[in-house]
Symmetry: C2
Amino acid sequence: MSASSVQQPRDEQPRNPADGAATLAEIARAAGVSAPTVSKVLNGRGDVAPATRSRVEELLRRHGYQRRRGSVQPAPMLDLVFHELESSWAMEVIRGVENVARKEGLSVVLSESAGRLTPGQTWVDGVLARRPTGVILVLSGLDPAQRAQLTSRDIPFVVLDPAGDPGEDVPAIGATNWQGGVAATRHLLELGHRRIGVIAGPPGIMCSRARIDGYRAALETAGVAYDPALVRNGTFHHEAGYTEGLALLRSADRPTAVFTGNDLQALGLYEAARESGLRIPHDLSVVGFDDLPLARWISPPLTTVRQPLTEMAEAAARLVLDLGRGNQPGTLRVDLATRLVERASSAPPAGE
Amino acid sequence: MSASSVQQPRDEQPRNPADGAATLAEIARAAGVSAPTVSKVLNGRGDVAPATRSRVEELLRRHGYQRRRGSVQPAPMLDLVFHELESSWAMEVIRGVENVARKEGLSVVLSESAGRLTPGQTWVDGVLARRPTGVILVLSGLDPAQRAQLTSRDIPFVVLDPAGDPGEDVPAIGATNWQGGVAATRHLLELGHRRIGVIAGPPGIMCSRARIDGYRAALETAGVAYDPALVRNGTFHHEAGYTEGLALLRSADRPTAVFTGNDLQALGLYEAARESGLRIPHDLSVVGFDDLPLARWISPPLTTVRQPLTEMAEAAARLVLDLGRGNQPGTLRVDLATRLVERASSAPPAGE
């Protein structure tokens, strides 16, 4: 029996019956439930037994069911999910999403995945029930089951600044992290530094790995050997900049300059330098990453690699709206340019 | 005809017919429309002519119509509205609301009133349509018409850190700003300062006025005359701290200590001091307000009055949920305690 010959509610037809994707009625039959029950599962309604629900979800996934675009009016909302809601980094992103949402008459629903890199099922259930116009995930991703759930409901999603490897088929907005690492390190090399330390983010975070690879590329193309003893890993918080900074500054052959994983780490390093009696930039040059507002305000103002967070968030919001309208963008992954902003925390090494 | 004798849909009964409040049917009759049309207006549906809508809204307001509590299931969301989404101040508040929302299985819908102290009608329309469990307004308020709209739909709201004078009947969570101003100023007086400058927020912001009144009270009870030349007003941004700070530091009889309206202003004042060749705390003591995370990170770490923003936001979220459950709290206005946090930016004046 062909998919198109099945009797089904008009608004729940699969998008491409010719592709052989299952219809709602077929899913219902296979699950041994009624079509309205499958509808309830699709709409995130709570009044379906958990066992039935997971059986239906499994069949939806296995059969690649996809709700026809435009068959259901989405709510005028964008879902914005953070790995963690911390610091003004998140604020810059929120502002970008708000800018686009306000223009489009959409609200922004904010969630935090409580430090996990994948939001919980409670969040997914909420999304299915409120049916937002789109979902933006910041530094976090979806597992395959969650992706299938959003896809089957025709809820588009975009990953912002992907932490892992979202895969080529996942729409994502990032920044040119590798180039940023090159620019920061070249700047320090041009000032005359040769012992350049680096504090990276957690090893599993791709954007951080790219920055370190850029650091290494700049060193090696300048003929400076890469020294693993100068590379430390830590979280993206102030504390890690302080702790790893102290470790670098107290080592026998200490670096004369340090490139940090972000501006907050740079602040921690400032503190470590003060404690070690080192003046910035006279005794130690520091280059950060992000260019949060506070980079301009601290003393000395921080030389840093500007990551256009607000613009990235705006691009992610526009991309997810575009996907929701059925437009396929030319490319699913866009990296916005980073650029070095020179301020007062970097100078030639003492004695030069 | 008594209100209770009118035929009406079961779920739209006024809460206290005995009070003489109008029923939905009476509103419909007075407006010359059908009861379902009044229902549509109540539910924020777009398919009602604007003229009809405003006539119905006017009648709802004039007759004090109020939807019966529990007659409509609210959406599992809290609406959080900011005057402006800036800096980590907003982040602290968002985190507090998120903490409570997550525990209660609610999402947080974030809006910015784009710098206006009252959110626009578009926002109100959105709230009526999505029918959140509660609304939290940060540093902004509602005009009487907006209040009436939320009240008639039985959507509870709470003002956090009220900027104006919300009125005694508006549920609000604040901080002990006056006591904070006293504590900051006493601390500087005890260190031996007599010329103590102050940078305040905009004159219309009540929380800022309270801090300045506390400053004045501390001075006068210590027998130090209040000198208007030492008081400057500015926005709550870094720039104002810099500009007003320069003005204070360049005056003939410059202050030896300055109490700023918030931590961001203190950062601007740090910059003004550097430019003026003044060392903190040796030549100038600084006390901020808020205790944002960056207060610990800057150099020297900032002595500041801690305002428990996250706890205030948690209290506001709990209060609005309580109101939604029909619980009347003992008091509609609660101010959480501020406290002085001594760090390295305050010291006795040079020469003492």
